[in-house]
C-alpha cells in the first residue's frame, strides 16, 4: 500500500456520507470514526476533510449545527440531509459497481 492517506478521488465524500448515516458527528468525530471503522487503514487528511465538509454542506447534502460535544465544548455537528441520503445511495451503488469491476479485472489479470 502506497500510503494510508491515499484516497481515491471522490471516495472521501462517500466515506463522510456513510459515516454520518447513523447520526450527527463533528469533524474530529467523523475523522476518528473513519479511522476506526477502516481499522486504522484510512487516515483522513484534515486538509481534505474540512473543505469536503463545507463542499457537501454547500451542495445541500449535509447541514451543520453548533451544539455541545460530550467533552463540554462548543462543536459543530454535521447531519445528513434527505438529499444526502439519496446521494449516498447513488454513490454507494456506483462504488460497488466500480470495485466489482476492478475485482473482475484483477482476477482476470491474475488468472
Amino acid at each position: 500500500m502506497a500510503s494510508k492517506t491515499d484516497l481515491l478521488q471522490g471516495t472521501l465524500d462517500l466515506l463522510i456520507l456513510k459515516t454520518l448515516t447513523p447520526g450527527a458527528l463533528h469533524g474530529w468525530g467523523i475523522s476518528k470514526r473513519i479511522q476506526q471503522t477502516s481499522k486504522g487503514v484510512l487516515e483522513i487528511n484534515q486538509g481534505s476533510l474540512y473543505p469536503a465538509l463545507y463542499r457537501l454542506e454547500d451542495r445541500g447534502l449535509l447541514t451543520s449545527e453548533w451544539g455541545v460535544s460530550p467533552d463540554g465544548r462548543r462543536a459543530k455537528f454535521y447531519t445528513l440531509t434527505t438529499a444526502g441520503r439519496k446521494q449516498f445511495g447513488h454513490e454507494e451503488a456506483a462504488w460497488q459497481l466500480f470495485t466489482t469491476a476492478v475485482n473482475h479485472v484483477l482476477k482476470g489479470a491474475t488468472a
Binding site: W28, S31, Q46, P51, D58
Partner: protein, 909 residues
C-alpha cells in the same frame, strides 16, 4: 443612488458573513486539534503541551486548510481581491522607494486625468446640463432643420403659430430673439446689454416667480401695447443699485423707453444668459404664424422656440407629433416646407448644435474617448512598472513559493498602483479645476452674453466619481497587467534563477513601438507648443509700434441691423442710411472732442486680409491687404517714409490709390523709387487654383509707410498694401480713437458710448476698450494654449525619457553577467556602452524621423507655424532636446553597467 446604497449594504453584509464564517472555521479547527490532543494525552500519556504540539503537527498548516476551505466555500475570490490597509501602506512605501518612477507616473497620469476630467465636464455641460429651473429636464427646444446651404435654420417664427395652436405634447410654447441694445438709466449711465425679446409664455414655461412686480403678460405682446421690461437680479443690483421702488420706473432700452414691471430672482438668466426681458411684439417681427409668406421670401427673423413637455408627455411623443405636423405642412406648402424637418430637442442642445440624438451620442462617445488618453498613459506607466516589477521578480517568486496565491500578489501590486493612480487622479482633478475655472472666467470675461447660464464648468460630484473610476482603471492597467505578466509561467524560472541573474522578463516590440510613438509625438507637438509660447511672450515684450494704451476701439453697429439683412431692399437701404448717417455724425463729434487727437475706422494692424496682387509688368505676389479709413496712419503714428498718406480725395470712386509698407516696396516692388508704380488685385475662381481671371483696376502707389502691426500677425514683417475707403465700410470695421497725450483713455472710453447714444440711441458699440487691454486678452489665451500644449508634450517627453531609461536599465540588468565577463576579458568599456546605447539610439532615431514627418504634415495643414517661420531654429532645438533627454536617460544605466566590478558578476554565478 439607491444602487450604490444597495451595493454598500451588500458589501457590509458580505463582510459580516465572512467574519462569522472565519470565526467558526477557526473554532471548529481548534476544537479538532484540542480533541486530538486529549486523545494523545489519554492514549499515549503525553503532557498536554506535547500532545497539543503533536496534534498541531498532525493537523498540518491550519491557514492552508482554511484557505482550501475558503476555496470550497466560494470565498476565494472575495478574499483575494480584498485590498487590505497593509497593501495600501506597502503602496505608499513603494512610492517613496522609487521616487523617479513615482514622479513620472503621477505627473503623466495626472495630465491625462486632467484632460479626461475637463473633457467630461465640458461635454457634460453641453450634452446633459442641469437646467436650474423647476423640472428643468422637461424643457425642450423646437426648431426647423433644413437642407439649405446655410445649414439648419432658426427661422421658425413662421411655424411658431402653427406649433403653438396644434402641439399637445408641448405646452407654454414660447419664442425669443436676442440682440444687444443700449440701456440708459435715469442717472444717464449707458451700457450695452443683451436683451431678450420673448413671448410671455416663456416665463410661464420657466415656472419661476418674479422677485418684485410681475413677469411679461400676453397683453404686452399686442401691437401698440406700452413697452415694458423685466429686469434680472444682477442688473437690478448693479445698474439700478437695488432700488426697492424700481417697479414703475422707466429705462431707455435702445430706441424706446420701457417701464420696469418686475425683477426676477437671483440666478435666473433664462433663456440663455439674459438680464433684460421685453415682450416679443409682432412688429417688426412680421405676422407671427403667417409663416408660408415669410418663409417663401426667406426673410423671417431668426428666433428660438422652446416650451415645456406637457404633463405625462415624453420627448418621443413630442417628436412624433411635430413630425406629423411637419409632414402636413410639407404637403400643404411644398415650396417652403419640402426641405424643412421640424425637431424637438432637449432644451440645451441647439445652443451647442447638438441637432440629433446621433450627434449627442457622438459627443458622448467622444467624452468617453478622452479617457483613452489616460489608457495610453497608463499603459505606458504599466510598462515602466513592469520594468520595476522585473527587479522584484525575486521577491514575488519567494512570496509565491511561501504560499501566496497569484491573485494575492496581483492584488498587492494593484493596491500599489492604485495609490499612485489615486494621487494622480487627485492632482489631475486639481489641474482640471484650475483650467476649467480659468476657461469659465475667460468665456464670461466679455460679458459672456452667449455663454448659457447653465453652462457650469465647476467640478461636479459626477466628475469626481469619474476621476475615481479613472483612478481604478489606471490602477488595473498599471498594477494588474505587469503583475499578471510577472507572476505568469516564468515564475518558476525566476525562482530558479533568483541567485544567478535578475530576471528573464522581456520588454517586447510593443514597448519599442510605444517609445518610438512618444518620441514622434514629442517631436511633432513640442515645436508648436513652444512656438505659441514664444510668440505670446514675444508679443508681451514687443513694442506694438503704436501707443496701445492711448488707443480706444469699439465695434459699431445699429440695433436691428441683423433683421435688416433679412428685410426687403427698401427697408435695408433705410436702415443702412440711418447707420451711415449715425456713424458719420459720431466720427464728426469725436473729432471735435479736445481730448481726442485722431479718429479712424478700419481694422487694427495685423487684422488685414490676404490678397494676391499683380505688379504691372511683373509677377503676382500674395500680400496682406488692409482697407482703412482716413487718418488711419495718424491714429497709429505710423511714419510716412516716402510720398504721402491718404487724403480725402483718395476716397472718391475711381481714385485708385494705395499706400504700401516698406516690406512691400522692397520685396514686391523691388525697391528704388516705387511711387507711381501700379498694382492690381487678382482673384482666383473658387475651386480652380490655376485660373486667375478677375482682376481689379490698376492702383497707383502714392506712399510708403513703416512696417508695423502685431495683433494677430504671425509675422509683423509681412508685405502690406493699404487701400482707403469711405465710411460705408464702417459696419465691418471698428472705430479707433487716438487719445491725446495727458488725457485719460478710460474717460474717453466712457464718453465714446455716450456720444454714440447721443447721436442715435440705436447705435451700439461693442467691446469698447483700449488696444492694450485687447492685446492682453489675446496674449492670455495664447499663453493658456501654450501652457496646455507644453504641459502635454512635456508629460509625453517625460514618459518617453522614463521609457528609455527603463528599457536601458532593463537591458543592463539582463546583460549584467555578459558585461561582467566581457569586462573581465578586457573588453573596452566604451564599446560595451556603445552596444547598449545602440538600441536607445535606434528608437530615438525612428521616433525623430516619424515626428519630423508628422510635423511637416501638421505645418502643411496649418499653413503657418514653426516650420515656415522660425523652423530652422526651433525644430532642430526640439530634436536636440529630445535626443539629449533620451541620452541622459540612457546614460545612468549604461554607467551602472560598466561600473560593475567583473569579479562581482562572476562571483554571483
Amino acid at each position: 443612488m439607491a444602487f450604490f446604497l444597495f451595493r454598500w449594504q451588500r458589501r457590509v453584509q458580505l463582510q459580516q458573513a465572512r467574519h462569522r464564517i472565519e470565526r467558526e472555521m477557526d473554532e471548529e479547527m481548534r476544537h479538532h486539534v484540542a480533541l486530538e490532543a486529549e486523545q494523545l494525552v489519554r492514549e499515549r500519556g503525553l503532557t498536554p503541551d506535547e500532545a497539543h504540539r503533536q496534534a498541531m503537527i498532525a493537523f498540518g498548516g491550519m491557514e492552508a486548510h482554511k484557505q482550501d476551505a475558503r476555496v470550497s466555500r466560494g470565498f476565494a475570490l472575495f478574499d483575494r481581491m480584498w485590498v487590505s490597509w497593509l497593501d495600501v501602506k506597502l503602496g505608499v512605501r513603494m512610492l517613496l522607494k522609487y521616487p523617479g518612477l513615482s514622479i513620472v507616473s503621477v505627473l503623466g497620469m495626472s495630465v491625462a486625468v486632467a484632460i479626461g476630467a475637463a473633457g467630461f465636464t465640458i461635454f457634460q455641460a453641453m450634452i446633459d446640463p442641469t437646467l436650474p429651473l423647476p423640472e428643468g429636464d422637461r424643457m425642450v427646444s423646437l426648431r426647423n432643420a433644413t437642407r439649405y446651404e446655410d445649414g439648419p435654420s432658426r427661422q421658425a417664427l413662421f411655424d411658431f403659430g402653427v406649433w403653438r395652436r396644434e402641439l399637445k405634447s408641448v405646452r407654454d410654447l414660447a419664442a425669443f430673439t436676442s440682440d444687444g441694445r443700449n440701456v440708459v438709466t435715469g442717472t444717464g449711465r449707458i451700457h450695452l446689454a443683451e436683451v431678450a425679446s420673448m413671448t410671455a409664455s416663456g416665463f410661464r414655461a420657466a415656472r419661476v416667480a418674479p422677485l418684485l412686480g410681475r413677469t411679461l403678460l400676453d397683453e404686452d405682446e399686442r401691437a401698440g401695447a406700452p413697452p415694458v421690461i423685466v429686469l434680472g437680479y444682477d442688473e437690478w443690483q448693479r445698474t439700478f443699485e437695488g432700488d426697492p421702488d424700481i417697479v414703475g420706473r422707466t429705462v431707455r432700452v435702445g430706441g424706446a423707453v420701457h417701464t420696469v414691471v418686475g425683477v426676477m430672482p437671483d440666478g435666473y438668466r433664462f433663456p440663455v444668459n439674459h438680464g433684460y426681458w421685453v415682450a416679443l411684439q409682432p412688429d417688426p417681427m412680421m405676422a407671427l404664424g403667417e409663416g408660408p409668406v415669410c418663409a417663401a421670401r426667406r426673410m423671417c427673423p431668426a428666433a428660438y422656440v422652446f416650451g415645456r413637455l406637457a404633463d405625462g408627455a415624453t420627448l418621443e411623443q413630442a417628436r412624433a407629433e411635430i413630425t406629423t405636423i411637419g409632414a402636413r405642412l410639407a404637403v400643404a406648402h411644398p415650396d417652403t416646407h419640402k426641405q424643412v424637418q421640424p425637431q424637438v430637442l432637449p432644451y440645451a442642445h441647439p445652443f451647442f448644435d447638438i441637432d440629433s440624438p446621433e450627434v449627442a451620442w457622438m459627443a458622448r462617445l467622444f467624452q468617453l474617448g478622452l479617457a483613452l488618453v489616460l489608457v495610453i498613459v497608463a499603459v505606458n506607466v504599466a510598462v515602466l512598472v513592469y520594468a520595476r516589477t522585473a527587479a522584484r521578480t525575486g521577491e514575488i517568486a519567494v512570496r509565491s513559493a511561501l504560499g501566496a496565491a497569484r491573485a494575492r500578489v496581483v492584488t498587492q501590486l494593484f493596491a500599489e498602483a492604485l495609490v499612485v493612480s489615486s494621487i494622480a487622479s487627485a492632482l489631475g482633478l486639481v489641474l482640471a479645476g484650475v483650467g476649467l475655472t480659468w476657461t469659465q472666467s475667460f468665456l464670461r470675461s466679455d460679458g459672456g452674453a452667449w455663454i448659457p447660464f447653465w453652462f457650469d464648468l465647476r467640478l461636479s460630484p459626477g466628475v469626481i466619481l469619474y476621476a475615481a473610476a479613472l483612478a481604478v482603471l489606471a490602477g488595473v492597467i498599471v498594477g494588474v497587467i505587469p503583475a499578471l505578466k510577472a507572476t505568469g509561467r516564468e515564475l518558476q524560472t525566476n525562482l530558479q534563477q533568483l541567485s544567478a541573474r535578475g530576471s528573464r522578463m522581456q520588454l517586447g516590440r510593443m514597448w519599442t513601438m510605444m517609445i518610438v510613438a512618444q518620441v514622434a509625438f514629442a517631436v511633432a507637438g513640442l515645436p508648436f507648443g513652444l512656438y505659441i509660447a514664444v510668440n505670446s511672450v514675444q508679443r508681451g515684450t514687443q513694442d506694438p509700434g503704436y501707443p496701445a494704451d492711448k488707443l480706444v476701439s469699439g465695434w459699431l453697429s445699429l440695433e436691428g441691423d441683423e433683421a435688416a439683412q433679412k428685410a426687403d431692399s427698401a427697408t435695408r437701404a433705410e436702415i443702412e442710411l440711418r447707420a451711415l448717417n449715425g456713424a458719420h455724425e459720431l466720427l464728426q463729434r469725436l473729432k471735435s472732442d479736445p481730448t481726442i487727437s485722431a479718429v479712424t475706422f478700419g481694422g487694427f494692424p495685423g487684422s488685414e486680409g490676404f490678397s494676391r496682387v499683380e505688379v504691372e509688368d511683373a509677377a503676382v505676389h500674395g500680400v496682406r491687404h488692409g482697407i482703412v479709413g482716413l487718418g488711419f496712419f495718424d491714429v497709429f503714428s505710423v511714419p510716412i517714409a516716402t510720398g504721402r498718406a491718404f487724403e480725402a480725395s483718395d476716397t472718391l470712386a475711381g481714385a485708385n490709390r494705395v499706400v504700401v509698407n516698406r516690406v512691400f516696396a522692397e520685396q514686391v516692388l523691388g525697391g528704388g523709387n516705387v511711387l507711381g508704380r501700379r498694382i492690381r488685385t487678382v482673384t482666383r475662381r473658387p475651386g480652380d487654383p490655376s485660373s486667375e481671371i478677375e482682376t481689379g483696376p490698376w492702383l497707383e502707389v502714392v506712399g510708403v509707410v513703416a512696417n508695423f502691426g502685431t495683433q494677430p500677425d504671425f509675422d509683423p514683417a509681412d508685405a502690406k498694401v493699404y487701400q482707403v475707403s469711405s465710411l460705408r465700410y464702417a459696419f465691418s470695421t471698428s472705430v479707433i480713437i487716438r487719445v491725446r497725450e495727458g488725457a485719460s483713455a478710460a474717460a474717453v472710453a466712457e464718453r465714446f458710448r455716450e456720444t454714440a447714444v447721443a447721436v442715435d440711441p440705436r447705435l451700439r458699440l461693442h467691446q469698447v476698450r483700449t488696444a492694450a487691454e485687447a492685446e492682453r486678452e489675446v496674449q492670455q489665451s495664447l499663453l493658456a494654449l501654450a501652457i496646455s500644449v507644453v504641459a502635454v508634450t512635456a508629460a509625453v517627453i517625460l514618459l518617453s525619457a522614463a521609457g528609455i531609461y527603463a528599457m536601458m536599465s532593463f537591458t543592463v540588468v539582463r546583460r549584467r553577467r555578459e558585461i561582467g565577463i566581457r569586462l573581465a576579458l578586457g573588453a573596452n568599456p566604451r564599446r560595451i556602452v556603445g552596444a547598449i546605447f545602440t538600441r536607445a539610439a535606434l528608437q530615438l532615431g525612428a521616433g525623430v524621423v516619424v515626428g519630423l514627418i508628422l510635423a511637416g504634415a501638421i505645418a502643411r495643414v496649418m499653413g503657418v507655424g514653426p516650420l515656415s517661420d522660425s523652423g530652422p531654429l526651433l525644430l532642430p532645438s526640439v530634436v536636440a532636446l529630445i535626443l539629449a533627454t533620451g541620452g541622459v536617460a540612457a546614460l545612468g544605466p549604461a554607467r551602472r553597467a560598466i561600473a560593475v566590478p567583473p569579479t562581482d558578476t562572476l562571483r554571483e554565478e
